[in-house]
């Protein structure tokens, strides 16, 4: 029969040799192999003391960025919510009052902005959809918890801090 691939191996159906049928020599070979593995360094990473290295474009937890003056960029346009395949993002918009110009960039802002981290699949479509370059995914992991309520993240956990030390660097992602 003509083989469809040139990587095929012929399976041998020769009956077992005396040494193979006795089984004990194979047992000892196997014991040697496992004993070699016993003394090797394990491949385990002990999280959270040791963490795996991520690339710069790893899709971890979200962050809502601010601009150079410290004002929030998000305008609650809702494009991220619409693009989310898991429907994890919800928001309530509000109008900017007088005296809040340094807090929000444009007149419309998100009063309530929530991401349900249990629904989120970390696909990054919200990051791609945002017209204001407001939401990005970072290389940090969303921490675990025992309660379901802890996974509904509001603005307090999503918006980055105002001081320059509290900003999260996402320059590696901005060219995409």
């Amino acid at each position: 029969m003509k083989q469809l691939t040139n990587r095929s191996k012929v399976v041998s159906d020769k009956s077992m040799t005396m040494a193979e049928a006795a089984y004990l020599p194979a047992v000892f070979t196997g014991l040697g192999i496992t004993l070699k593995h016993f003394f090797r360094k394990p491949a385990t990473l002990k999280y959270p003391e040791q963490k795996r290295e991520f690339t710069a474009v790893y899709r971890g937890r979200h962050v809502l960025k601010r601009d150079e003056n410290g004002a929030e960029r998000c305008t609650a346009c809702g494009l991220c919510a619409v693009s989310c395949p898991a429907e994890a993002i919800t928001m309530v918009a509000d109008e900017r009052k007088k005296g809040e110009e340094n807090l929000y960039r444009e007149e419309k802002y998100a009063a309530i902005y929530e991401i349900n981290m249990l629904r989120c699949i970390f696909c990054g479509l919200c990051e791609e959809a945002c017209p204001k370059q407001a939401i990005f995914l970072t290389t940090e992991i969303a921490p675990a918890s025992y309660e379901r309520e802890d996974f509904i993240w509001g603005k307090d956990r999503l918006v980055e801090g105002v001081e320059s030390t509290k900003r999260i660097d996402i320059t590696a992602r901005q060219d995409r």
Binding site: V27, G30, L31, I33, T34, L35, H37, F38, R40, P42, A43, T44, K46
Partner: protein, 348 residues
């Protein structure tokens, strides 16, 4: 019988019982750690330093779980099944010689709970009773998979008891006695009369047959199809939960410990170690070091049990039965003939 003799034996029995339970508990931890290291991973290391409190966490889990007894099961048998498994597992520890003799004051205390003159036969009888624990567990569950698992397990165990018994007969032909303490005494030191004194060097093939049959008796891989998850869900302990399941699992580890102790006593000299008479120590020190050496031998065997488990795939049922009846039993019979021939030859 003096009361102080009874007191000695009670104390030794109590200490042996506690040590066996402790070792069985930490065998679960050792199993997980050894399995992990053999598989290039780490094993439990969160519950205490190096995960040492993991067995305590497991025991706590077993105590707190809900005990479910199926409504259609045979309640009485369901409850005594694990009890029988555990009782027979612990009963065999009575005749094992843990050490030589201790001199306390002016008395000589032998570190063996009961010096039966038919020790080996007693262990055999009790191990055969252990099959009942599994059989009853599988039957009482009123569940086809449990019954299948129990039937396979019990047929496996009774098939390999033959091989074990026959290989022991050739050992008894050499020792001339069934008493465990005398067998260990005959292996005194390491070198005697121009040859090794331990019976392993006199009967290596007998030991091989015995160790294979011991693996089958303990339901350990490669003979563990009684409880393999892939084929039988849980086998005979599918329906068990909480402490009854804990008892079954514990009884398996205790069986493993007792088999190791048995093998160490019969074939590897028990509490004897090389140069035991040449170090010039007092009797008590020799006994104490002997006990430690005995336990080291047991731990080596337990490591071997676990090492084999994670090396060899399990046997199919027909392969297992074929091995027991068509390979082990004839091999043991031939071994008896050969031993008899050598003994006759040496007598002339």
């Amino acid at each position: 019988m003096e009361w102080i003799f009874l007191l000695d034996k009670t104390i030794i029995a109590f200490i042996a019982f506690s040590i066996i339970l402790l070792i069985a508990t930490y065998s679960t931890y050792a199993e997980r750690k050894i399995a992990a290291f053999l598989q290039d991973r780490v094993g439990p290391d969160r519950a205490g330093p190096f995960g040492m409190f993991q067995p305590l966490a497991d025991a706590g889990k077993f105590f707190f779980k809900e005990e479910i007894i199926p409504a259609t099961s045979n309640k009485f048998l369901f409850i005594i099944g694990p009890g029988i498994a555990m009782t027979t597992a612990l009963m065999t520890s009575v005749v094992i010689p843990w050490g030589g003799t201790l001199e306390i004051g002016d008395r000589l205390v032998s570190l063996q709970v009961s010096d039966l003159n038919i020790g080996v036969l007693y262990v055999f009888g009790v191990v055969s009773l252990g099959v009942y624990g599994i059989m009853i567990g599988g039957w009482a569950s009123n569940n086809k998979f449990s019954l299948l698992g129990a039937i396979r397990a019990s047929s496996q165990m009774i098939s390999y008891e033959l091989g074990m018994g026959l290989s022991l007969i050739s050992l008894i032909m050499l020792t001339g006695t069934l008493s465990m303490s005398e067998i260990v005494e005959q292996q005194h030191g390491f070198w005697a009369d121009g040859y090794f004194s331990w019976y392993f060097f006199k009967q290596p093939i007998g030991f091989l047959i015995f160790i294979v049959c011991a693996f089958a008796e303990c339901n350990r891989t490669p003979f563990d199809l009684a409880e393999c998850e892939a084929e039988l869900v849980g086998g005979y302990h599918t329906e068990y939960s909480s402490m009854k399941l804990g008892f079954y699992m514990f009884a398996e580890y205790i069986n493993m410990f007792i088999s190791s102790a048995f093998m160490a006593s019969l074939y590897f000299g028990g509490y004897n170690f090389p140069f035991m008479d040449d170090l010039g120590l007092s009797q008590n020190w020799i006994t104490i070091i002997g006990v430690i050496v005995f336990f080291l031998k047991i731990f080596a065997f337990i490591f071997f049990f676990m090492w084999i488990r994670w090396t060899i795939p399990r046997f199919r049922y027909d392969q297992l039965m074929r091995l027991g009846w068509q390979v082990m039993m004839p091999a043991a019979l031939l071994h008896i003939f050969a031993t008899g021939a050598v003994i006759l030859f040496n007598q002339h």
